[in-house]
């Protein structure tokens, strides 16, 4: 089974470039004959995750693997880590800087949005070491 493997370096703190990787992912996904709802969900997951790496973790790396059954998005950073995942997952909870807020980020909606749009989301995080968020979108999945 063929797998399309994509890798993107995400710059930290460059708000105007934030979103470039998700745009690139979208361009590839649109070529894959996937149902448009799947593409949209994957792009939302990728975008929110990418932005989080930019504004909270000084950038990182995104891996996107697509095969006939699923899209797996893995976002790895070496940022500060998330002290309380339960809180971070709450809608409206945010530690975004004033600068990030001025750029329109920081509503505390990113992680809940990623959760909602993926069939499976796993966060591995260690304070001072970094965070890895892995999201799976199944082509036969149920997520809204």
């Amino acid at each position: 089974m063929d797998t399309v493997k994509l890798v993107y370096e995400i710059d930290g703190d460059n708000f105007s470039a934030a979103g470039e990787a998700s745009t690139a992912v979208k361009r590839v996904l649109k070529k894959l004959k996937l149902p448009s709802a799947i593409v949209r969900r994957a792009v939302i997951c990728m975008y929110e995750g990418e932005i989080n790496m930019v504004i909270h973790a000084d950038g990182g790396r995104a891996y996107v693997d697509v095969d006939e059954e699923k899209i797996v998005i893995r976002l790895e950073d070496r940022g500060p880590g998330i002290p309380d995942i339960g809180k971070a997952m709450q809608e409206g909870w945010s530690t975004a800087s004033a600068e990030a807020r001025n750029s329109g980020f920081g509503a505390g909606m990113g992680l809940p949005n990623m959760k909602r749009n993926s069939d499976n989301m796993k966060i591995e995080t260690e304070l001072g070491v970094g965070t890895t968020v892995t999201m799976t979108i199944l082509f036969g999945g149920e997520a809204s």
């Binding site: 089974m1 063929d2 797998t3 399309v4 493997k5 994509l6 745009t23 979208k26 590839v28 649109k30 070529k31 894959l32 004959k33 996937l34 448009s36 949209r40 792009v43 939302i44 975008y47 697509v66 095969d67 006939e68 082509f139």
Partner: protein, 431 residues
């Protein structure tokens, strides 16, 4: 669907300027000549505008077509009036057109004003709750949506183009006036672009053609120069007011709804970006997006003569003394004109299953990683990315890339000095 671009291969040198300018990457150069891939072409005419050798022309008609009809009506696209310097009255253009052999002139602004009036009176004909509407006046944008943003098909405002509404009305009025059967009346559009020509030849959502021929704006522009000089006391044939005449420039619609969130977006790159944002639900603040593929709307069409900014200025002057609005949609007009159309998807993907699409894309990705990402265009494709895809789809070969050829050349040499001599400076060893 056919497109309206014609390449004169004698003039084409294979320089790849159009390949790079095409917003949908529909052109490749092979064997020293450009080739347009019809299925990917939206007829915007960028290639016509940028070609340094003037190798492209636009499928269109000539004034000879008038002879086929007993009565001829011309529809000048609104942008046409902006082309002339030192013009102080729109009707000088209209009167000049009569001298060219037309029996009547119906500016496209008539249809525009009727559409505008309909939308103003009944917002539900254009706005829809929880849906960002995208205007459909530019046929190139409509085609782009059908081809690349199929999810947004419901967002496209389902109305005819202003020139089509004008044509339907003009024919009905001419039948009444002349007693001729409709088919003996010829209607021609003075068109700014291949997209509108294609729309004339193959309308969407209409059972048959409503405009009989398309005349290139730049051609009529010249032919009209001397008849216009002879005009003394022109009759009024504009019929529309400022409302209808402010279409054609980007932003015309936005001004019409000052209390709604309307965005005006023009230029291919900007349109692509905004459609993408609507698709990703990143754009949330607009109710209606007015779109035109050309910079400054139809004033930037490839068949125009004047630069779009100056043309806009001319237009501003020309409408100064006109009433805000002259035409109103009445029930009989509304009933006589077919307003709605269905937009169909255009499928450009060659893969027919996810498995095959994955295989093509995986192969393209693998090749892409090895390419220099210079987007130099020597392979005849617009970018390394597009080239990788061409190779995976079987339209090109890996060694069509000049860098791969250089690699092969280097490998064939035994001495490093020899290799360095053979290849261009960027590929030589560092000192």
């Amino acid at each position: 669907m056919k497109n309206s671009l014609i390449l004169n291969t004698d003039r084409c040198t294979g320089c790849t300027v159009c390949v790079k300018a095409c917003p949908t990457e529909a052109i490749r150069v092979t064997r020293s000549k450009a080739v347009i891939y019809n299925a990917r072409c939206i007829d915007c005419g960028r290639c016509v505008s940028v070609c340094p050798h003037h190798a492209y022309s636009v499928r269109s008609d000539s004034l000879d077509r008038l002879e086929q009809y007993k009565y001829n009506i011309v529809i000048p696209d609104t942008s046409f009036y902006g082309q002339y310097k030192n013009l102080y009255d729109l009707n000088i253009v209209n009167e000049g057109l009569l001298a060219l052999g037309f029996d009547d002139v119906y500016p496209a602004a008539i249809g525009a004003e009727l559409l505008a009036d309909l939308w103003k009176k009944d917002g539900s004909t254009i706005f829809e709750e929880d849906l960002i509407r995208v205007t459909s006046e530019c046929p190139a944008v409509v085609r782009l949506v059908a081809m690349e943003f199929q999810d947004l098909i419901p967002n496209v405002v389902d109305s005819l183009c202003a020139f089509e509404v004008t044509a339907v009305l003009a024919r009905q009025e001419a039948v009444k006036k002349t007693g001729l059967p409709p088919e003996e009346i010829g209607i021609g559009l003075i068109s700014p672009c291949p997209a509108k020509n294609s729309r004339v030849y193959e309308p969407i959502g209409l059972e048959s053609r409503v405009v009989d021929y398309a005349l290139p704006m730049n051609d009529i522009y010249i032919k009209l120069l001397s008849p216009m000089k002879a005009v003394t006391d022109p009759a009024d044939r504009v019929r529309a007011g400022k409302l209808g005449l402010s279409w054609g420039r980007s932003g015309g619609l936005s001004d019409m709804f000052p209390d709604r969130d309307v965005l005006a977006v023009d230029g291919a790159e900007n349109v692509l970006r905004i459609l993408s944002e609507i698709e990703d639900e990143k754009l949330t603040e607009a109710e209606l997006v007015e779109t035109a593929l050309c910079t400054q709307g139809c004033f930037g069409g490839c068949l125009t003569v004047e630069n779009p900014f100056t043309a806009k200025l001319h237009m501003r002057r020309l409408i100064l003394g006109l009433p805000e609005q002259n035409l109103e949609i009445t029930d009989p007009i509304r009933d006589r004109i077919p307003w709605d159309y269905e937009l169909e998807e255009i499928d450009t993907e060659i893969a027919d299953s996810i498995a095959q699409a994955l295989q093509l894309e995986a192969a393209a990705e693998r090749l892409y990683k090895t390419l220099p990402k210079f987007d130099c265009g020597n392979c005849g494709a617009p970018s390394c990315r597009a080239f990788s895809r061409d190779v995976s789809e079987g339209f090109a070969e890996e060694n069509d890339c000049i860098f791969n050829i250089i690699k092969i050349m280097r490998n064939g040499m035994s001495h490093e000095d020899e290799k360095d001599e053979l290849v261009p400076p960027p590929f030589r060893r560092p000192l």
